[in-house]
C-alpha cells in the first residue's frame, strides 16, 4: 500500500509534506473502506449464517435455508431488517454515551484488521509493534461494552457490562502471555515477521515447535474465546440471567453493530491464532509463482475458517460456566500455565538451537501426538454414530 502511494506521489511530482500526508490519509481511508465493505461486513454476515447452519445441524435442525440458495443470503435480509428497525434510545439513558458505545466496540474489532495479514503482500500496515497494537486496540471493545452497559441505565445491562469488563481484563493476561511466548520464539512483534518465521508444513508451525508453544496455543485459544465473550464464556450476555447483557436496550442498527463486531471478532481471534500458531499464509514452495498471492490468501482464510468452525462447535457443545469458575479458570489455571510457558519458552530459545536434531524431533513428536488425538477423536465420533445406530448423511444441503 505504502509503496503504491509512494510511486503515485513520485509520478505526480508531489513533494509538499502536507499534501503527502493528506494523500496518505485519503489512501488509507480508501483502503480501510474497501476492507470494511468488501471483507469485514460480508465476513461477519457469512459467519453468522455459517454459525446458524452448523448450530442447526448439531441440533438435528435445518437452519436458515429460504433466502437465496440454501439460505446463503440470510445475513443480508437480517441486516436490512435491522436497518429498517426503529433506533430506540431509552428516555433515562445517557444518550451520547449510548450512541457512541457500538462504534467503540466496532472500532476495537476493525482496528485489528490493520495488522492482520492476508498474504505475504496483502496487509494494511505491517507494523513493527503488530502484536502489541493488536492487544491494545482490542481494549476498545472492553471500553465500548462498559459504556454500553452503563449508559443503558438498566441493571441487567450494567451487570453484563461489568462482567464483561472483569472477564476481558482477566483474560488479557493469559492471552498476552501466550502471544508473548510466540513473540519470544520469533524474535519480532511484527505479524508478518512471525509468519515468516514459520514454515508451510505442520511441523514448522509454531504450535508444534516446542511443547511450551503447544500449550500456549490452547491457553491463547481459551482466553481469546473469553475475550470476545463467546460461549462457554458468554457470561456478559447470559440470556438466562441477564436478558441480553450489555446490549439489552439496543435496537436496530446499533444492535446489529454489536453483533457484527461479535462475529467479526470470531474471525479476528481465529486469524490471530492462525497468524501466531498455525503458519499463517505459508504455502508449499511447489505452488507456481503466479498463483502464490491467491493461494496464500486462500490458505490463510481456510485455516481461519477452520478455527471459526471450532469456535462455533465449542459454543454448541459446552454449557456456560459460572462466574466463579470463569475466574478460577483464569487465575488458577491459565495465568500460572502462561507464566510457566513463558519461562519454558525463554529457556528453549536460549538453550535449544533451532533446526537441530532436538528441535526437529520435538516438532515431529508433537505432530504425532496431535495426530493421535485426532485419531482418538475420530474413533469417538464413530462410536457415537454407531451407539445410536443413526442413519448417516454426509449431504450438507437440506
Amino acid at each position: 500500500m505504502r509503496q503504491f502511494l509512494d510511486g503515485l506521489l513520485k509520478q505526480w511530482g508531489v513533494t509538499n509534506d502536507l499534501v503527502t500526508v493528506l494523500i496518505y490519509g485519503a489512501g488509507m481511508l480508501l483502503f480501510a473502506t474497501i476492507v470494511l465493505l468488501l471483507w469485514v461486513a460480508p465476513l461477519a454476515g457469512f459467519t453468522s449464517y455459517f454459525e446458524r447452519r452448523i448450530a442447526a445441524r448439531m441440533q438435528s435442525r435445518v437452519g436458515p435455508n429460504r433466502v437465496g440458495p440454501q439460505g446463503i443470503l440470510q445475513w443480508i435480509a437480517d441486516g436490512l431488517k435491522c436497518l429498517l428497525k426503529e433506533d430506540l434510545i431509552p428516555r433515562e439513558a445517557d444518550a451520547k454515551l449510548f450512541k457512541v458505545a457500538p462504534y467503540l466496540v466496532f472500532f476495537g474489532m476493525l482496528g485489528t484488521f490493520v495488522v492482520l495479514p492476508f498474504s505475504e503482500w496483502l496487509v494494511i500496515a505491517d507494523l513493527d509493534i503488530g502484536v502489541f497494537f493488536l492487544m491494545a486496540v482490542t481494549a476498545f471493545v472492553a471500553v465500548g461494552i462498559i459504556i454500553a452497559g452503563w449508559s443503558s441505565n438498566n441493571k441487567w445491562a450494567l451487570l453484563g457490562g461489568m462482567r464483561s469488563a472483569a472477564q476481558i481484563v482477566s483474560y488479557e493476561i493469559p492471552s498476552g502471555l501466550a502471544l508473548l511466548a510466540v513473540v519470544m520464539t520469533a524474535g519480532t512483534l511484527s505479524t508478518q515477521g512471525i509468519i515468516r518465521d514459520q514454515g508451510w508444513a505442520p511441523w514448522q508451525w509454531n504450535v508444534f515447535r516446542t511443547p511450551f508453544l503447544f500449550t500456549a496455543f490452547f491457553v491463547y485459544f481459551i482466553s481469546a474465546l473469553a475475550e470476545i465473550n463467546r460461549a462457554p464464556f458468554d457470561l456478559p450476555e447470559a440470556e438466562s440471567e441477564l436478558v441480553a447483557g450489555y446490549n439489552t436496550e439496543y435496537s436496530g442498527m446499533r444492535f446489529a453493530l454489536f453483533f457484527l463486531a461479535e462475529w467479526a471478532d470470531c474471525y479476528v481471534i481465529s486469524a490471530v491464532a492462525t497468524m501466531a500458531f498455525l503458519g499463517g499464509w505459508q504455502i508449499p514452495p511447489i505452488v507456481p509463482e503466479a498463483a502464490r498471492p491467491l493461494v496464500q490468501v486462500l490458505a490463510f482464510v481456510a485455516k481461519s475458517f477452520f478455527l471459526i468452525f471450532v469456535v462455533i462447535w465449542i459454543r454448541w457443545t459446552l454449557p456456560r460456566i459460572r462466574v466463579d469458575q470463569m475466574m478460577e479458570l483464569c487465575w488458577k489455571y491459565l495465568v500460572p500455565i502462561g507464566f510457566v510457558n513463558l519461562l519454558g519458552t525463554a529457556a528453549w530459545v536460549a538453550f535449544v538451537p533451532p533446526n537441530q536434531a532436538l528441535a526437529n524431533a520435538t516438532s515431529i513428536a508433537l505432530c504425532v501426538l496431535a495426530a493421535a488425538v485426532v485419531l482418538y477423536f475420530m474413533a469417538r465420533v464413530r462410536y457415537n454414530l454407531r451407539a445410536t445406530s443413526a442413519e448417516v448423511s454426509l449431504n450438507p444441503f437440506v
Partner: protein, 235 residues
C-alpha cells in the same frame, strides 16, 4: 503433592470431557435433520402424514344426513345449529356400516361454529349414518373469525330442499285428499268405520317407493356439492 496431582487431574479431566463432548456434537454433523419443513417442503402432502383418526375440522355429508338432531343435542357447547324440512322418505347408505337408513328430513340449515368447537367428538359418536365426521384439515388461520362459522347448506341447496319438501307436502296433501275422498265415498256407500284409522294408515301403505321428489333431492345434493361452503382450509 496431592494438590499438584489434583491440579493436573482437573486439567486432564476437563480436556478429556471436552474432547468427548465435542465428539458427540460432531457426530451430529453426519446425521440428517429431523425437521419437517411444513408446509411447503414436506416429502408428501401434509394430509397424508396425519394419522387416520385425527380430529380436524368437522364436516357433514349432507346427502346421508337424516337430520335426526342427535349431534345438535350431544354438543356440550351448542356449536351446531340444524333446521330441516320434511321430504319424501328415501333410503340412504350409512357411511359407518353401509346399511340402508330411511331419511325423511333434509336439513335446510346446518351451521357449525368451528371457533367454538372443542373437537370432543361427542357429535360424531351418536351419528347413525356417519354423516358428521372429522376431516384432516386443521389450518384455520383466517383474517375474519366468521370464516370459521361453517354454513354447510348452501342457499341453492336450501331452495331445492324446500321445493322438494313443498312437493312432498303437496303429494301428501293430495294423497290425503284422495284417501279422504275415497273414505267419504266408502262412507257414503257403507256405514263408516272410524275414518281416522284409515287416514293414519295411509302414509304407511302409500309409501311411494320412487317418487320424483327424492331423486331430485339427491341430484341437487350431488350437483351443489361444489357450491356448498368449502372447508376453510381449502381457501
Amino acid at each position: 503433592m496431592q494438590a499438584v496431582a489434583e491440579y493436573v487431574g482437573n486439567i486432564k479431566r476437563s480436556a478429556g470431557t471436552i474432547l468427548n463432548g465435542m465428539a458427540v456434537t460432531f457426530s451430529y454433523m453426519f446425521r440428517p435433520p429431523i425437521t419437517t419443513q411444513y408446509p411447503d417442503r414436506t416429502p408428501k402432502p401434509i394430509t397424508d402424514m396425519i394419522p387416520e383418526r385425527y380430529r380436524g375440522f368437522l364436516w357433514v355429508d349432507l346427502d346421508i344426513c337424516i337430520s335426526c338432531l342427535l349431534c345438535e343435542r350431544a354438543c356440550p357447547i351448542d356449536c351446531i345449529k340444524i333446521e330441516d324440512a320434511k321430504i319424501d322418505k328415501i333410503l340412504v347408505t350409512s357411511a359407518i356400516d353401509g346399511k340402508a337408513t330411511p331419511k325423511i328430513k333434509d336439513p335446510t340449515r346446518f351451521d357449525i361454529n368451528l371457533y367454538k368447537c372443542m373437537y370432543c367428538a361427542l357429535c360424531v359418536e351418536p351419528c347413525p349414518t356417519g354423516a358428521i365426521h372429522f376431516t384432516k384439515e386443521f389450518e384455520g388461520a383466517t383474517p375474519d373469525l366468521s370464516d370459521l362459522h361453517l354454513r354447510l347448506v348452501s342457499p341453492e341447496r336450501k331452495t331445492k330442499v324446500l321445493e322438494a319438501a313443498d312437493e312432498a307436502a303437496k303429494k301428501e296433501a293430495a294423497k290425503k285428499a284422495a284417501k279422504e275422498a275415497a273414505a267419504a265415498a266408502a262412507a257414503a256407500t257403507a256405514p263408516a268405520p272410524p275414518a281416522t284409522g284409515e287416514a293414519s294408515a295411509a302414509p304407511a301403505t302409500g309409501e311411494a317407493p320412487a317418487g320424483p321428489a327424492p331423486d331430485d333431492v339427491t341430484a341437487a345434493g350431488g350437483g351443489s356439492e361444489d357450491d356448498a361452503a368449502t372447508p376453510p382450509a381449502g381457501e
